[in-house]
C-alpha cells in the first residue's frame, strides 16, 4: 500500500473525529436550550388550558390535537414532563383533571411509543407511572400496551412498564404481568419484582388473593419472589405458608422462603416443625437447619435453646453461626452458656463469644443514642 494513502486515511479519520466532536457538542447544547425553552412554552400553553378547564370544565379539542402532535416527538414529551412537574406543584387538582381529560391522547401515543426504540419506549411508561395516568381508571387499552412492553429485551423498558402497572390498582393485571415475566426467557431479577410489588397502589389484600390463586402455576423462582413480597408486606399468610413448608413436593428454595417468612411472623403451630427442620439431617439439605436455626430466634423456649445449643457444635459454619446469633437474640448470657464457652469445642466457644461482643457493641450504641437524646 502506498504510504501516502495511509497518511490520507489517517487524516480522514482525524477530520472525522473532530467533526464528530464538534457536531455532538453543538447538537447537545442546542437540544438543551431547546428543551428548556420548549418546557417553558408548553407550561404556558397547558396553564392557559387549565384556566379554561377551571372555567368550562373541559379541555378544547384544538388543544388535544395540538398535544397529540407535540407529544409524538420525544423532546416534546420531555418538555411536557418538565412543565407538568412544575404545574403539579402549583395547581395539583386542576393538573390531575387535565391529565384525565388527556386520556384519549395518551392511548394514541402509547401505540406509537410502544413501537419505538427501547429508550423511547421505556420513557412512556415512566410518564404513566410518574403522573399516575392509570390510577383508578378503567383503561384496558393502555394496560394491554404496557403488558406488551414486558416482551421487550430492555430491562429498563420492562421495569418501567411494571412500575406503571403497579399504579393501576388492578390486581388481575399484575398477575397477568407476572405470568408473562414467568413464561419469558428474559432475565428479571427477583428483587426488582418482590420490592416492586410493594409499590402497588391498590388494595393489597385483593392483590394477595389474586397472587395466591395463581401461585401454583408459577415457576419456583417466581414463587420465591412472591413469598419474599409477602414477607415484607403482611403476616397474614402464616397458615398457607406453613402448609407450603410441609409440602415435600415444593421446591427447596420455596420452602426456604417459607421458613424465612415464619421467622419474621412467629406462628406457634409451626414451632414443632421448625424444631424438626433445625435439627440437621443427612436426608435434607443443610440450608434447612441453617435457616431454621436463624428463624428460631423468634420462638423462645427450652426446646429452642436445646436445639440451638446442639447446633453450636455442628461442623457447618452457617448452622453454627445462625444458632449462636439466635441464642444471643433470645437473651442468653455468658452464664447460661458457660458450658459451651468454657467447653472443649473451640469453634462453638469462639462464635458464641463473638456474639456476646456484638451484643455489647449494640448496647453501647443504644447507650450513646440515649445519652444524646
Amino acid at each position: 500500500m502506498p504510504v501516502e494513502i495511509l497518511i490520507y486515511i489517517y487524516l480522514g479519520m482525524c477530520a472525522g473525529m473532530i467533526l464528530f466532536n464538534i457536531a455532538t457538542a453543538l447538537l447537545s447544547r442546542r437540544r438543551e436550550h431547546r428543551s428548556f425553552r420548549d418546557g417553558i412554552r408548553l407550561e404556558l400553553t397547558v396553564s392557559r388550558e387549565l384556566d379554561r378547564l377551571a372555567e368550562t370544565g373541559a379541555v378544547s379539542e384544538r388543544h388535544l390535537r395540538f398535544m397529540e402532535r407535540r407529544l409524538r416527538r420525544v423532546n416534546g414529551m420531555a418538555a411536557f414532563d418538565a412543565a407538568l412537574e412544575r404545574l403539579c406543584v402549583r395547581r395539583p387538582e386542576l393538573t390531575r383533571s387535565y391529565l384525565t381529560a388527556l386520556n384519549g391522547v395518551t392511548i394514541t401515543l402509547a401505540e406509537d411509543y410502544c413501537r419505538r426504540d427501547e429508550i423511547e419506549a421505556a420513557y412512556f411508561p415512566y410518564i404513566i407511572r410518574k403522573y399516575r395516568l392509570l390510577d383508578g381508571q378503567e383503561n384496558e387499552a393502555l394496560k394491554t400496551m404496557l403488558l406488551d412492553l414486558l416482551h421487550e429485551s430492555s430491562i429498563y423498558c420492562r421495569e418501567n412498564a411494571m412500575q406503571a402497572l403497579y399504579t393501576s390498582g388492578d390486581a388481575q393485571i399484575i398477575v397477568r404481568a407476572l405470568r408473562i415475566i414467568d413464561a419469558s426467557s428474559l432475565y428479571y431479577h427477583s428483587k426488582l419484582l418482590s420490592d416492586g410489588l410493594l409499590n402497588y397502589t391498590g388494595d393489597t389484600w385483593e392483590l394477595a388473593d389474586a397472587l395466591w390463586e395463581a401461585f401454583d402455576a408459577f415457576q419456583p423462582w417466581m414463587q420465591v419472589t412472591l413469598l419474599n413480597y409477602f414477607r415484607f408486606s403482611s403476616g397474614a399468610y402464616c397458615e398457607k405458608i406453613h402448609a407450603l413448608l410441609n409440602d415435600p413436593a415444593q421446591d427447596d428454595e420455596v420452602r426456604f422462603a417459607c421458613l424465612r417468612y415464619l421467622g419474621r411472623y412467629p406462628y406457634p403451630p409451626a414451632y414443632a416443625d421448625l424444631l424438626r427442620y433445625a435439627t440437621p439431617s443427612e436426608n435434607a439439605r443443610w440450608e434447612y437447619a441453617a435457616i431454621a436455626s436463624f428463624v428460631l430466634a423468634s420462638y423462645p423456649g427450652a426446646e429452642t435453646a436445646a436445639v440451638l445449643k446442639r447446633n453450636l457444635y455442628h461442623p457447618n459454619w452457617y448452622i453454627r453461626f445462625n444458632a449462636s446469633k439466635s441464642l444471643e437474640q433470645l437473651g442468653f448470657g455468658y452464664r447460661d452458656l458457660i458450658d459451651v464457652i468454657e467447653g472443649h469445642d473451640r469453634y462453638a466457644s469462639e462464635i458464641l463469644r463473638y456474639r456476646f461482643d456484638v451484643r455489647e457493641l449494640e448496647e453501647r450504641k443504644e447507650d450513646a443514642v440515649c445519652t444524646t437524646v
Partner: protein
C-alpha cells in the same frame, strides 16, 4: 553488511506500518464505540431508561490498607456518607508499620471483638479484630500479619458477610451514588460475576460527601496527563471490550465481585503484583473451563475518585508494578492465548493486551532504536518520517481529546476554558514524550522484580480534600 541492514530496516518498516495501522484502527474503533455508548447512556439517563434507585443488594466493601494512617479515616468517613442502605465496611490492615489501625479504632470508637473468621481462601492469620456498631453501617477492622495486598483482600473476602463485595484502595473516595450504580448490572443480568467501576483522578477536585463540589483538572502537569491517559484507556479497553464480555481488567481501586464465584475460583493470587487483573483473567478462565454462563461488566457511571502520582518517580514505580502484574497475569493464564474455547476473549482481548500493552514498550523502544540506525546509515527520509510522526501524533491527540471531552460532557462536569486549552496542549505532549518515557520505564520493570514481588506499591499520599 549495508544491504543486510537495508533489508532488515525494510522489514522493520513493514512491521511498523502493520503495527500502527492495527493500533490506530483499534483506537479509532474503541473511541467511536465508547463515545457513542456514553452518549447513548446519557440519553437513557435523560429519558429515564434506568432502574429505580430504591433497590439495594447487600454489599461488603473491603479496604486493604498498608501504612495509610494519613488517608484511612477520611476514606472510611467517605464510605459512611454513601447514599446506600445495605452495606458493611471491612478495613484490612496488612501489618502496617504506622498507626493505621490505631487511627481507625480511635476515630470510629471501635472495640476489640473475638471474631472467628471462616477461612474459605487461604491468607495470613489475623492478629486482632475491632468492630463498631455506632456508625450508619457496621465497620470492621482486621489487623493481620503482612502478606501483601492480595492476601489482605482475601482476608476481607473471608470476613465479608454479604454475597457481593467491593474492593477498593484506601486512598480512594467513592462517589455518593457509586454503590447503587455498580450494583445495577447485577439487577440487569443474572450471570454477572464482576462489575468494574470507573476510576477518575481526584487531584485538586473538591469533594463534599462523595459529591463533586468543584471540578478542576490537576494543576500538576503529570497528574493532568494521567487524566487524559485514563480517559483514553477507559474508552479503549473498557467500553469496547465490554461489548463482547472481553474485559480483562477491573481496576483494584473499584470493582464489585460475586463472592461465591471468586471463592470458587480461588480468590486473589497473593503471588501476583497485578492481583486485580489476575482475578478477572482467572474468572474468565474458571467460568469458561467449568461451562458457567458468566458476564463481566462495566458500569461507566459508577465513579471512584483516586489520587494520581504527582512525581515522576512515583509514577514510574506505579507503572513498573502494573507492567509486572500484566506480565504475571498473562503468563499465568497463557492457556487463553489463541484458544478458540475462549472466543473473543482470547482472539481480541488477550491478543490486544499481549501486543499493545505487554509488548508495546519493547516494540516502541525498538522502533526508536531502528530509527537511529536508519539515520546513521542514511536510510531514512527525514522529512517524511517527521510528517508521519506528526500525523500519528495529531491522530492520537484527537482521539485522546474525543475521549476526554466525551467523558467530561457525559459526566455533567463543567470545565473552565483554561483547563480545556491545557488539555488540548498537553495531549500532544503526553503522546510524544510521556508515552516514550513510560515505555522505557515499563521495559525496565523486570529488573529486580523478585525482590518487590509481595511488597505494596507506595506513592506519596496527600490528605483527601473532603468537606
Amino acid at each position: 553488511m549495508y544491504d543486510g541492514i537495508k533489508l532488515f530496516l525494510e522489514w522493520v518498516g513493514y512491521f511498523f506500518i502493520a503495527y500502527l495501522i492495527g493500533y490506530s484502527t483499534f483506537l479509532f474503533l474503541s473511541v467511536v464505540v465508547g463515545s457513542l455508548d456514553l452518549y447513548k447512556r446519557n440519553r437513557q439517563e435523560m429519558l429515564k431508561s434506568i432502574l429505580p434507585s430504591d433497590y439495594y443488594l447487600p454489599i461488603s466493601i473491603i479496604v486493604p490498607a498498608y501504612n495509610e494512617e494519613v488517608t484511612v479515616a477520611d476514606t472510611v468517613r467517605s464510605l459512611l456518607a454513601l447514599d446506600y442502605r445495605s452495606y458493611e465496611i471491612i478495613v484490612v490492615d496488612d501489618g502496617s508499620k504506622d498507626r493505621t489501625s490505631e487511627v481507625l479504632a480511635e476515630t470510629f470508637d471501635m472495640h476489640l471483638v473475638h471474631r472467628p473468621i471462616r477461612r474459605q481462601i487461604n491468607c495470613q492469620r489475623e492478629e486482632y479484630v475491632y468492630e463498631t456498631r455506632a456508625q450508619k453501617v457496621a465497620v470492621t477492622l482486621i489487623r493481620k500479619k503482612n502478606g501483601g495486598k492480595a492476601d489482605a483482600l482475601n482476608m476481607g473476602i473471608n470476613a465479608a458477610n454479604f454475597p457481593y463485595f467491593i474492593c477498593m484502595d484506601a486512598d480512594s473516595v467513592l462517589q455518593y451514588d457509586s454503590l447503587r450504580r455498580i450494583a445495577q448490572p447485577i439487577l440487569e443480568n443474572g450471570n454477572v460475576v464482576a462489575v468494574g467501576g470507573i476510576v477518575r483522578i481526584s487531584n485538586d477536585v473538591e469533594l463534599e460527601n462523595g459529591r463533586v463540589k468543584h471540578y478542576r483538572l490537576p494543576r500538576n502537569i503529570l497528574a493532568f496527563m494521567q487524566v487524559l491517559e485514563y480517559d483514553r484507556s477507559f474508552l479503549a479497553s473498557r467500553i469496547l471490550f465490554d461489548r463482547f464480555n472481553g474485559s480483562l481488567i477491573i481496576s483494584g481501586a473499584f470493582g464489585l465481585f460475586k463472592k461465591d464465584t471468586v471463592i470458587a475460583a480461588g480468590g486473589y493470587d497473593s503471588g501476583t503484583m497485578g492481583e486485580d487483573m489476575e482475578l478477572v483473567v482467572k474468572l474468565h478462565e474458571y467460568c469458561t473451563v467449568n461451562n458457567i454462563d458468566y458476564a463481566i461488566r462495566y458500569a461507566s457511571d459508577a465513579i471512584c475518585w483516586t489520587q494520581a502520582p504527582e512525581r515522576l518517580r512515583d509514577l514510574c514505580k506505579q507503572r513498573k508494578r502494573w507492567h509486572l502484574g500484566l506480565f504475571q497475569s498473562m503468563y499465568k493464564h497463557r492457556v487463553m492465548f489463541s484458544n478458540h474455547r475462549f472466543g473473543a476473549v482470547s482472539f481480541v482481548s488477550y491478543l490486544y493486551f499481549l501486543i499493545y500493552e505487554l509488548l508495546s514498550p519493547f516494540i516502541e523502544i525498538f522502533g526508536v532504536f531502528t530509527m537511529v540506525l536508519a539515520w546513521w546509515f542514511d536510510l531514512i527520509n527525514v522529512p517524511f518520517m517527521l510528517l508521519f510522526f506528526l500525523i500519528y501524533a495529531v491522530f492520537g491527540s484527537v482521539l485522546t481529546l474525543t475521549a476526554f471531552f466525551s467523558r467530561i460532557y457525559t459526566a455533567d462536569l463543567t470545565l473552565s476554558f483554561g483547563d480545556g486549552l491545557k488539555a488540548v496542549c498537553l495531549c500532544l505532549f503526553e503522546l510524544v514524550f510521556l508515552r516514550f518515557i513510560l515505555a522505557w520505564v515499563r521495559c525496565t520493570a523486570f529488573i529486580g522484580y523478585r525482590k518487590k514481588k509481595l511488597s505494596w506499591g507506595r506513592i506519596e499520599r496527600r490528605e483527601i480534600d473532603l468537606k
